[in-house]
Amino acid sequence: MTAANYCSVQLIKDGFELNAEFEIPQKGVLGIFGHSGSGKTTLLRCLAGLEDKASGRIIFNDCEWLNDKKSLSSQQRNIAYVFQDSRLFPHLTVLKNLQYGVKRSASELQYNWDSLLQLLNIENLLERKPETLSGGEKQRVAIARSLLKNPQLLLMDEPMASLDAAHKNEIIPYLETLHETLNIPLVYVSHSLQEVSRFCDRVLVLESGKVIYSDTVSKALSSADSPLLKTQNAVAVFDAVVSELDAEFCLSSLITDNGTVLQVKGLHEAGRKLRLRINAADVSLSKSRVVDSSILNILLAKVVAVVDETDSEVLLQLSVNEDIFLSRISKKSFSLLNLTIDSDIFIQIKGVVLQSLLD
């Protein structure tokens, strides 16, 4: 492989064998998804240089981090790592914690200190000691601390795993904003499909220490061969840019990379990239374009495949300009509509859920 950022690591530790090979993207968020014990954290630690017994080859930005002859230590790899348990230094104030990495960074800071603190909403915590912070605050400080170290690659190990639902909701918007603004690649380890579908651009599925699947998040959630295609509660996700606004009815039109246009409620900033989420259960089908319907988004699609079948329902893949939608309909409707692969059909989307809602 000759990709610029490439990682192939092997490690045997406590009877567990990790053997993973993948490309690290130049930009965007790579999710590493897997159940507990699948080796996600170990893989991330190998990338970070925290496992000294790891072997293989890691090349990042034309720099050999690991090969047969050498293994760069963590501090030589120019990474930053957000741990599950934040790991703030208890003897230092929040401010000193933030400065720890800044002082030791070789390169000029590419983030504006004030705006980053504002973005993560921690400007008022600077004089506090970590022990006085809530779980969510700790994790926000840890994220800021890692970014202020000015890394070339950011690694996050289930940053929300130790938080309760309320604190998760406190962090999610910040991670979504980071996803939009970050200009370095981020590797995000998670066992939550919801997190992966919200922040990640690509996803790599790990099972028993091996990469069993790797693709874009949209494909991973909608392809029949993907282990992430949930037959229950299936969803399709799309990244789309706000293209037109309808002030009268307070609607925004969004266009995907493939040119599919969808309307959502609310006025959003033109040009802004948003992630849309459409549940398979919210997509119904019709042979002809229904004109007297309350549904805003009606698109002409082609049937691609039947990806799942139960006694009473079928899950269909439908393509519009190469964007894959999922629809769950009853077996009876499927039979009445007389659908086959490549049939043309109108899809009616009842609900489009926006994911980046930070304004």
């Binding site: 970070a48 501090q75 930053a80 741990f83 790991r87 990495g101 030791r104 170290k149």
Partner: protein, 222 residues
């Protein structure tokens, strides 16, 4: 009445001060290694470090005397190097005290380093700190109470040593005549008043240092 005894008192404080300083310097890497190693010889190393706690001081003094004497392994080497013997002088006392008080410094440091753990050290590495930098900026400040305990214990323990000192130091005024030996001398010559004065000083000091240590530890639990 007190004046002639000021010598042993000052000598003892000087010995304790020098020994404790040397112990902190030597004890730190030993304790760090013991706290972090997964090497199989760790229990052996721990047992050797802990020996002075259970060994009768005279036994240790006896072996050190043999080792330090100008014919002994260490003593002859030192004699070649410096032209001086290791026995019956102040320098020999420092070496002996360091060995004798080693567990009292290493053990609190080791447990302090163990409670720092590797997680925070890893966090420091990923933030760009080199190992030595991470050690001084994270491990040492977090082991602060361990250091205070080690200093108090190392200092007080050196202050009170008797058996080892008697075996290898003897009783040379201004050179090896320490406070505990002076007390012994006074009692032998039935000078109870002088023995009282010196003993009270040691008793008061011992109590204050133990109190200090427990106050430090209590605050760390609170």
């Amino acid at each position: 009445m007190l004046l002639p005894d000021l010598g042993p008192l000052l000598l003892t404080v000087k010995l304790a001060f020098i020994s404790t300083s040397v112990l902190i310097v030597i004890g730190t890497p030993v304790a760090w290694w013991l706290a972090t190693t997964r090497c199989r010889i760790k229990p052996f190393a721990e047992a050797i470090v802990a020996l002075p706690i259970v060994l009768p001081p005279t036994v240790m003094g006896f072996y050190l005397l043999i080792l330090f004497s100008p014919q002994g392994a260490l003593g002859s080497f030192w004699y070649e190097l410096s032209g001086q013997a290791l026995t019956f002088n102040f320098f020999g006392l420092v070496v002996a005290s360091v060995l004798y008080s080693l567990p009292f410094v290493v053990q609190p440091l080791q447990s302090a380093f163990e409670s720092v753990g590797k997680d925070l050290m890893e966090a420091a590495y990923t933030l760009g700190a080199k190992p030595l930098d991470a050690f001084f900026s994270v491990a040492v400040p977090l082991a602060k109470r361990g250091y205070l305990t080690a200093i108090v214990l190392g200092f007080s323990h050196t202050l009170g040593e008797f058996g080892v000192v008697l075996m290898i130091g003897g009783n040379i005024p201004g050179e090896t005549r320490l406070i505990s030996i002076a007390i012994y001398d006074h009692v032998e010559s039935l000078e109870y008043a002088q023995a009282h004065t010196l003993s009270l000083i040691l008793l008061a000091f011992a109590f204050v240092s133990m109190l200090l240590m427990y106050l430090i530890n209590q605050r760390s639990k609170a």
